[in-house]
Amino acid sequence: MANLIELRNIKKIFKKDAEQELLVLDNVSFSLKEGEILAIVGRSGSGKSTLLRIIAGLSKPSAGQALYQNEPITKPVPGISLVFQDFALMPWLTVLQNVELGLEALGVPRKERRQRALKAIDTIGLDGFESAFPKELSGGMQQRVGIARALVVEPEVLLMDEPFSSLDVLTADHLRSDLLDLWSDEKKKNNGILLVSHSIEEAILLADRIVVFGSNPGHVQAIVKVEIPHPRDETSPEFRKLVDRIYTLMTTEEKIIGKGKKEIDLGYRLPDAPISQLIGLIELIAEEQETDQAVDLPKIADELMLDIDDLLSLTEVLDILHLAKEAEGDIKLTEAGLQFEKADILLRKKIFATHLLMYVPLVRHIYNILNASHNQRVSKKHILTDLEEYLSKDDAQRVLRIIIEWGRYAELFAYDDSSEELNLENPE
């Protein structure tokens, strides 16, 4: 079958300034075939959304090519439309006007525009809501408008950026199955969907093939074919097996990149992991972990109803801190992790502090600076400048925010927001 979209060695570099560059996507190649649903899954920060924006023509690759019908994509083209994670509806336009917007831009005459828009609204099940404003609708209904708006221009390729992640579980389920129904018609026209997904189950439910993304920088780690016939049952053994397999792919990859073997460095892009969630996860694993048995990650994801990338961020941090060991879709608390779980609040803080100093170079770095400075203070700016040697501005800020939260919990250092200084003092 012919390719709708073909990606050839896509590379994306974000330039921070004249000297520094940040590699976000490296050597990404795959294709979307006619009539196919392709899903992309990966950890947070693996550049999935960036890739989608390159295909949409909103952003240019630094190297390589994104082809649509064998033509390089340099700007948004009429044959490709996009469904947004947070809907991106114009709040001042009614449902009908929102759906008409794309046609208006194409210069479609008024009468035809109205007709086509009404038909699209009909198809997606929004009858009766034509004159409503987006804010009067629930999230699920808003996303239906987003889909109608994308479909009304009759695209050959529909890009979807985590379209169901802002919705509650029930609504997402319902909308997904409606999308599949709708798709069985579209399929006849050989159109394709490229979906960035936040959940492995969702990807398996919908897709014909799944592209598993690895992070730092984003790259294609594996492409998995889903050969389970529709309608797919989430509880069937073959489905569960596939879930396990993809989890394994996503976690083993980290080993190759070498966290276990290689120490992380100062510029490591620490993922978002709030203290309370880390502790909650440790307690949950301890509960599940009966006598030396590793715990299945999909099971935990299910229980916590966490997005895959959020969960993997947490397990990654536990792994870095040597509080747990993750491998092949499983996770297991280490000796220290078990000790942490049993400890009281004060001891927990102590264990956490020791591990932070031992395994997170950035914490060590800050701690050393603070001890060396004569007034035991250092400005936030100073640390940010250090971090920006390795990370983008936004990432540096984010990482420092996380580090400050950890440091405060561990009582290693304090932070004064009004002077924007880190210090060793305890508040009187």
Partner: protein, 577 residues
């Protein structure tokens, strides 16, 4: 119930830098240039022959209409400038670099002082006709409102969510379509609100700019401001009272027929995140009335068709022939940018040279330091006034704000009071000062804040009403009371709102000092010691270099206070919320 607050768009700007100094230099040079070039030529002009203001009450509505008309022309031009300059600043970073600091400085220029310079220019442009002063008056209204509108629009454009912009590109909207379908609707609520605030401030200036003395000549434009000035010169108490009454009616109509409906309408443009903040306003009676008729529907349909044709205008839809970026194009645009900065550098050099020449030729150092000293007097007045007003209006505002049903009724009234040109009320105070021989240095002072104190009250009320119910319950639960309650709960909650109100009030007070430090009743004129009085004095005698000096120094004072006091306080407040 959430309420609007009186915003100050300038304070939310990014940190200032070297570009500010450049902007300041440019502005000051501009004054100097105008002053310099008009110094030698004094056009013979006798407006008193052209026009006299009739004190008969039957002319008054007509005069009021002229004033309103002037206002509307200025508003239309402001809107046009807002759309063009605001958009330019938001979309082009090279333009942004100079536009923002320039607006920051221009906003600090006392509008009324400015007037005396521009009026001379416009009179030269249209010799022997009233068109000159007319343009100058419109110009004064314009500069009193346009900066805040531009900044408000610019800030809206900067905060358009990324995904809306992406959606617009994905669906291939042209720039023209994007502007009307995304940019303007997104900015609409803040644009309307800013327009209303700016216009409120403008009533003051429209009244003040109609009657002005330049070159020892009294120029009177037909309007409510010159009517009251004539009434003052005639000591005609009835005419003074009558004009206050008419102005009251005008502002009431403007508020009820234009802005209440507009604000109600603009609610629908609010982004969904603001949903909780939506003002639960009652439908204005005018809209309710029109809803009952078929008129609105018919007009609405016409409006729809019109906007559709306008937004999808054929010749603006044409896409550029080639989107290709050739090497030549890149080099060309880089040269253009290079040229832009080189010319800015050259302008700086020219400004420095010209200014040094101009100042040392006409103004002695001793005089400049005297004017600086006068500025100190006026600053002391402003500081004391803000302090006293806060002492009165913070408790009053909190009292009102804690009682939602009272706040609901009181806030429109305060908004109205803020719009009412305080200078119309000056005669009452002047009458007392002169009759009872009071010290003008003290008793003229309250006039400066008469019109702008409402900003403080308005914002304190708005701030108090935003305090979450839970917090109020918590303070009751913990038995917080007395000074502790104020220190830990009430004052911190209203602080950001109070600061924004105080900034606006202080800015207004500086401006008002130009009319408030000189009191006239019949043939008697009393003058307080201050920078405002100095500017009025040199304006009347037509001493333009000194006018330029006075304005520049006032401008410096305002900027100085902004950077030393207000900006840090504002930043502190912004961080806490």
């Amino acid at each position: 119930m959430q309420m609007h607050i009186w915003q100050n768009n300038r304070m939310a700007l990014p940190k200032m830098n070297l570009w500010d100094i450049f902007a300041l230099l440019l502005t000051v040079t501009l004054f100097a240039t105008i002053a310099y070039s008009t110094k030698q030529i004094t056009a013979p002009y006798h407006p008193s022959q052209l026009l006299t203001i009739q004190l008969s009450e039957k002319y008054l509505p007509l005069y009021a209409l002229r004033t309103v008309f002037r206002m509307l022309i200025a508003l239309s031009i402001s809107l046009l400038l807002t759309f063009t300059i605001g958009t330019l600043a938001a979309k082009n970073k090279h333009a942004e670099r100079i536009i923002l600091p320039l607006i920051d400085v221009l906003q600090s220029v006392p509008v009324l002082g400015f007037l005396s310079i521009t009026i001379t220019g416009f009179m030269l442009l249209f010799p022997g006709s009233l068109l000159g002063p007319e343009c100058a008056a419109i110009f004064a209204i314009l500069v009193s409102q346009v900066w805040n509108m531009i900044l408000g629009f610019y800030q809206s454009l900067k905060t358009i969510p990324e995904d809306l912009k992406e959606a617009a590109s994905i669906f291939k909207l042209s720039s023209w379509q994007k502007f009307w379908r995304i940019d303007v609707p997104f900015a609409m609520p803040s644009l309307i609100w800013n327009m209303m605030m700016s216009m409120s401030a403008s009533w003051f200036f429209v009244v003040a700019s109609e009657a002005i003395s330049v070159n020892n000549q009294k120029i009177l434009l037909p309007g409510i401001g010159s009517y009251i000035a004539t009434a003052l010169a005639d000591k005609n108490r009835i005419a003074v009272g009558l004009s206050i009454f008419i102005m009251f009616i005008v502002i009431l109509l403007y508020d009820q027929c234009i802005f209440r409906p507009l604000i109600f309408w603009s609610e629908k443009f609010k982004h969904e995140e603001d949903e909780t903040e939506r003002t639960q306003q009652k439908m204005p009676w005018l809209i309710a009335l029109l809803n009952k008729t078929r008129l609105l529907k018919i007009l609405g349909d016409y409006f729809d068709t019109f906007t559709y044709q306008f937004v999808n205008c054929k010749w603006l839809l044409k896409k550029k022939a080639s989107q290709e970026i050739t090497k030549a194009k890149i080099i060309f645009s880089q040269m253009l940018i290079y040229f832009w900065y080189v010319s800015i550098g050259m302008i700086v050099a020219l400004c420095v040279y010209f200014l040094s020449q101009f100042i040392f030729q006409t103004v002695t150092l001793k005089e400049a330091s005297h004017v600086l000293l006068l500025g100190v007097y006026t600053s002391i007045r402003v500081i004391i006034l803000i302090f006293l007003c806060s002492l009165v209006w913070i408790p009053a505002g909190v009292w009102i704000g804690l009682r939602p049903h009272v706040a609901e009724k009181v806030q429109p009234i305060i908004q109205f009071l803020a719009a009412f040109p305080a200078n119309l009320l000056f005669p009452i105070v002047i009458y007392f000062v002169i009759t009872y021989h009071l010290n003008v240095n003290i008793w003229a002072t309250p006039l400066m804040i008469l019109g702008t104190q409402w900003y403080i009250l308005f914002n304190v009320i708005a701030g108090t009403t935003t305090i979450p119910k839970d917090l109020k319950y918590a303070t009751v639960n913990f038995h917080l009371s007395g000074w502790l309650k104020w220190r830990r709960f009430i004052l911190p909650s209203i602080f950001p709102y109070f600061i924004t109100g105080a900034i606006t009030a202080a800015g207004g007070a500086w401006n008002a000092s130009i009319v408030a430090e000189v009191l006239t009743w019949g043939k008697t004129t009393l003058m307080a010691q201050g920078l405002g009085a100095f500017i009025t004095q040199v304006t009347t005698s037509g001493n333009l270099p000194r006018v330029a000096l006075g304005i520049s120094i006032m401008c410096l004072y305002v900027l100085f206070f902004n950077y030393i006091i207000w900006q840090p306080l504002y930043n502190m407040a912004a961080k806490r919320t």
